[in-house]
């Protein structure tokens, strides 16, 4: 079928676009970049925020009484559009002055400074003063700090991106527009702190916030303090998705892998050992893969207590989500801890023993693409006598800032190597960073363990991609294994609803809270609505996998050694004690007063 097209004129240039195209997109075809502020689109992830609320992108449409928001106005045949008449420019500037008049002018000390879309827009529109500021009241709100996220609604411009992410994409519903008029803002119920809400700390609100209203808790001062303490041995683990994105903060092309430079930078920052979360990812596969095979075998043998599908459990936002919304299914996910926490548990036992220090003198820092990791490492069950397995988790963004503070230019650093033994990993560990990666890694190991045959191909491309819900059947030597993949909690909810209803036909499901997986995590460099960046990061992850000499977790020699020296077998009692966890019912309870 041929698509219906529409011809129109924008700034005296004619363009033909498919019916339904907005003026803004049609203008882009002509290379005219009409500024947008509240609008955001992650095209490949089918995420669009279009409240038409900021009114910055207005344009003049001939015959129309008022200006049209180009982000939300569809092209019509013969339309004549002007994007920069004096009327438009004056309106855009005046609206921007309105927005700025209700925004704190503390750019110097704002966490978003230099990376703030509002700031850039003010710059682009050439705003030099805000008339009438001296008599302008500001809408101010209570500040909110949670283990992961800081909310400063004074800086909110009501673009509604966070609300859209939290509700439509993630279906978490922690945030909503509240109040009316000048005091309208986005907040959790009763304007309480996020801690008292259903927030999963997935951080997607932070990832899309154009201003400093939503930012991560900055743990770099904690890390600096630890590094400065001579009595502490400070080790660091870096998650797979970090190396595929960190370079962006130093002007590199999205998708540039900076693994070696990152290692050098961390060492330069003073970490005593630079390890890799990928190592723990391989360990996760050993534990989770074994658990999968065990449940699968028992299930096939008719054991009714062996529930399938098994759900991955490495994503802390996802764990928070099912504890809140699906507590009735809390025995369904794998009990395996996340790689971050497996790493911490091994570091503070096996490794601390190895270097002969008390766990209290060992500080474990993680570099994560994720904000939920900050909360995860603070969970009670992940510490021993008040000493956390992972002491601090900092995001990719915080690491970049930390590196810059140390006047290191990542571009000019040499390639370093991770330290042994917790720095060695396989390609399977690397692909944890992209949606579908965990399950692909699990398949590589589970297949070989189950069938005792060698895989003839390692790239399960059917498990990759950015589609929200994906499924594939992998032939385990005659046994078809149905695999489901969801990224984004809203997609996860769909699969979970099937599981709850007993309709799920999957044997295993991978869930990642963030769209795209960890590469699109809430702690990553901001994508500002460009989904190409997320695609480039995914490509980098798979590239790194391909380069690795070993690409199957169970072939990691250091993992083999860890089991031999310390853990025994996967799912052994010791492994269970250190590497597995349990889940809690965190659904709100209605308690009846007596």
């Amino acid at each position: 079928m041929e698509m219906e097209t529409i011809k129109l004129t924008i700034d005296n240039k004619t363009v033909e676009v498919p019916k339904g195209t907005t003026i803004n997109k049609a203008a882009k075809e002509l290379g005219i970049d009409i500024p947008v502020l509240c609008y955001m689109e992650l095209k490949d992830l089918c995420i669009e925020n279009k409240p038409a609320g900021c009114r910055i992108c207005v344009v003049e449409v001939q015959g129309r009484r008022n200006l049209a928001p180009s982000c939300a106005t569809k092209c019509e045949e013969g339309m004549v559009v002007k994007t920069h008449t004096t009327r438009v420019l004056n309106a855009r500037r005046t609206v921007m002055e309105f927005i700025l008049s209700d925004h704190p002018k503390e750019c110097l000390i704002c966490a978003k400074s230099g990376n703030c879309e509002l700031q850039s827009m003010a710059h682009q529109l050439g705003i030099k003063e805000i008339p009438g500021q001296e008599i302008a009241a500001m809408s101010t709100y209570k500040k909110d700090t949670s283990p992961s996220i800081i909310r400063d609604q004074d800086k909110c411009i009501l673009c509604r991106r966070c609300e859209m992410m939290c509700n439509e994409v993630q279906t978490v519903g922690a945030l909503s527009a509240v109040n009316r008029g000048f005091m309208a803002t986005v907040a959790p119920a009763f304007e309480q702190n996020l801690e008292h809400s259903t927030c999963t700390y997935c951080g997607q609100c932070v990832a899309v916030c154009p201003t400093g209203a939503l930012t991560e808790v900055d743990n770099t001062p904690d890390v600096l303090r630890a590094l400065a303490d001579p009595s502490k041995t400070v080790i660091v683990q870096t998650a797979p998705a970090v190396r595929a994105a960190l370079g962006e903060m130093f002007g590199m092309e999205p998708g540039t892998l900076v693994t070696g430079k990152m290692v050098t930078a961390l060492r330069a920052l003073g970490f005593d050992y630079v390890f890799d979360t990928d190592f723990a990812a391989d360990l996760t596969i050993m534990e989770e893969g074994t658990e999968l095979l065990d449940r699968l075998t028992r299930h096939l043998n008719g054991d009714k207590t062996a529930r399938l599908p098994i759900l991955t459990s490495c994503c802390p936002g996802w764990v928070n989500f099912f504890e809140e919304y699906f507590p009735d299914l809390k025995d369904v996910p794998s009990t395996a801890k996340s790689p971050q926490q497996m790493f911490g548990a091994i570091a503070k036992t096996y490794f601390a023993d190895k270097i002969k220090i008390d766990r209290k003198d060992l500080v474990v820092v993680s570099i994560m693409p994720c904000l939920a990791k900050k909360y995860e490492c603070q969970r009670d069950e992940f510490s021993v006598d008040g000493n956390r397995d992972v002491d601090f988790s900092i995001s990719t963004r915080e690491l970049a800032s930390f590196i810059k503070q140390a006047n290191l230019d990542l571009n000019n650093l040499e390639e370093g190597e991770f330290d042994a033994p917790l720095g060695e990993s396989t390609g399977a560990g690397v692909i944890f960073g992209a949606t579908g990666g965990v399950i692909e890694a699990a398949v590589r190991t589970a297949y070989e363990l189950h069938t005792a045959k060698k895989l003839d191909r390692l790239d399960f491309t059917e498990l990759r991609g950015l589609e929200g819900v994906r499924s594939a059947t992998i032939d385990f030597n005659g046994l078809p294994i149905n695999i489901g993949i969801a990224h984004g909690l809203g997609n996860a909810r769909k699969l979970l609803n099937d599981v709850r209803a007993g309709k799920s036909l999957f044997h295993a499901i991978e869930v990642m809270a963030c769209p795209g997986g960890c590469i699109g995590g809430g702690g990553q460099p901001l994508h500002h609505g460009n989904s190409e960046i997320i695609k480039a990061r995914a490509a980098a992850i798979y590239r790194e996998d391909k380069q690795k000499p070993l690409r199957k977790s169970h072939e990691n020699p250091f993992i083999i050694k860890l089991y031999e020296e310390f853990l025994g077998k996967p799912n052994s009692e010791k492994a269970h004690h250190l590497l597995h966890t349990h889940y809690f019912d965190k659904k709100k309870k209605i308690i009846v007063k007596q």
Binding site: N66, L67, F98, G132, I157, N179, G181, F182
Partner: protein
Amino acid sequence: MPREKMQIIVCGGTSCNGNNGEAVIDNIRLELEANALENDIRVVRSGCFGLCTMGPIVKIMPGDTIYTKVTPDDAHEIVSEHIMKGRKVERLLYKDPEGKKPLTTEKELTSHKKQIRIALRNCGIINPENIEDAIAHKGYEALATVLTELKPQDVIRIIKDSGLRGRGGGGFPTGLKWEIAYKNKSDEKYVVCNADEGDPGAFMDRSVLEGDPHAVLEAMIICGYAIEAHNGLIYIRAEYPLAVARLKSAIQQARDYGLLGKDILGTGFDFDIDIRYGAGAFVCGEETALIHSMEGLRGEPTVKPPFPAESGFRGKPTNVNNVETFACISPIILKGAAWFAGIGTEKSKGTKVFALAGKINNVGLIEVPMGITLREVIFEIGGGIRKGKKFKAAQTGGPSGGCLTEKHLDLPIDFDNLTAAGSMMGSGGLIVMDEDDCMVSVAKFFLDFTVEESCGKCSPCRIGNKRLHELLEHITKGKGTLADLDRLKNMSLVIKDTSLCGLGQSSPNPVLSTLTNFRDEYEAHVTLKKCPAGKCKDLMEYFIISANCVGCTACARVCPVGAITGERKEPHLINPSICIKCGACMEKCKFDAIIIQ
């Protein structure tokens, strides 16, 4: 029961009173006494006849004879000629402007009655809680015609031909709206009645729902038939408990009588109506916001298109009309499109209900043909300005409207003229202001309303209106500059130009129209630091005229801050640095000794 005796009715309306009306009564009574008729002929005062420009008015019953512009001296002739000899006093009879033959009776004057009740036809006439009373007054007759004799397209054509335009404020042609909804095919469609009357000072929708709920129900069913919908929803303010109660009882009775539900009047057409409640958000008068509100969401508007007629309630084609619009439907069907189109102006047909309020004598609801002038509304139907003060402005269109001034008094009121004059029809609130009203404060009052009612979704409305309000406040405090007036104008224009919905697109109208029409008043505030109307507290000073002050000490006793000093029986003094300008002293003073400067 005794037969009608001869009686004299003298208009006691404020305007006639001010024109020696009292003296007319006195003289008539004296004349009657002189002829020993005082016990046979009653003289009573009436309310306003709505003929204020012709007052004082005297009416003789029986016979309905109306005398206009009666002076006290005319009393003798009226009594001696009309009362005693039964001869009409020709020279006092009303002559129509074209100078044709005099119109003697009130009946003949009927054509000069300014009001025509279409939407309000049954209000105050029927018992709204008795459907049979409505049926006795032609209720559901139009529905019967529609269901048995007309096709949907015919109904739409009639409504289109009638020229009826939406009475909620927008003025969109109703027939066209129905046609669009009709053309959007869908398994489900909705007819929505917008009864979320939110304009402060407008209460016509409430009056219709309280007085004649069946008029609305019937029209909704007709609309349902025309656009092929089977579900109706009335979105009504929860603050209207009486209207809700009467509506509920009307719906129940209509169901009981088979006028709602399945197979209406045996024609096979199904239609039912539900009520949804508003909860105090002015913006929900905007149709997309209203629909979101009915869906249990925050009443935030969304960008149009898509219009509700394409995608409305639950994503289905939805036709939204306001109460007054619906109330006009049945008469159009029964009396024909041509009849309706014969009333009003070229582009605005029929009548419009206005709520007269403010500094006007006859506060209340009126229904007048489009094209009537402001002068007729205020000085005839409205009985003129209270306390004989000077007319200054009329605010129409509520917070979205603007102020009309003396120069607009003879402007025929219709949708387009009001818009051209910088105001708008709105839902029909008409607030009259006199010389004591400060137009900067009036603009501020409306902005205060908008700031409170803005949903907050788009930045120009959320922040811009707040800034407008702040700047007006600044000006009323005497801190403004001439440059601020330009800023006021620029902000207003941008807010209008960039806001998402009708609320923001019209909220600066009160500022712009006062700025245009009363620029001198704004300038007085910013350059002379004076409020000509004496309303702005910060710009006034209370002052005692010592010549008038007798030293009664009443003012000093009532002053809450002790700003007034003076010996008993000596002129008092107000200390301006202590005075909080509450005005208590001025109210207390019986000697007009205290003035505002």
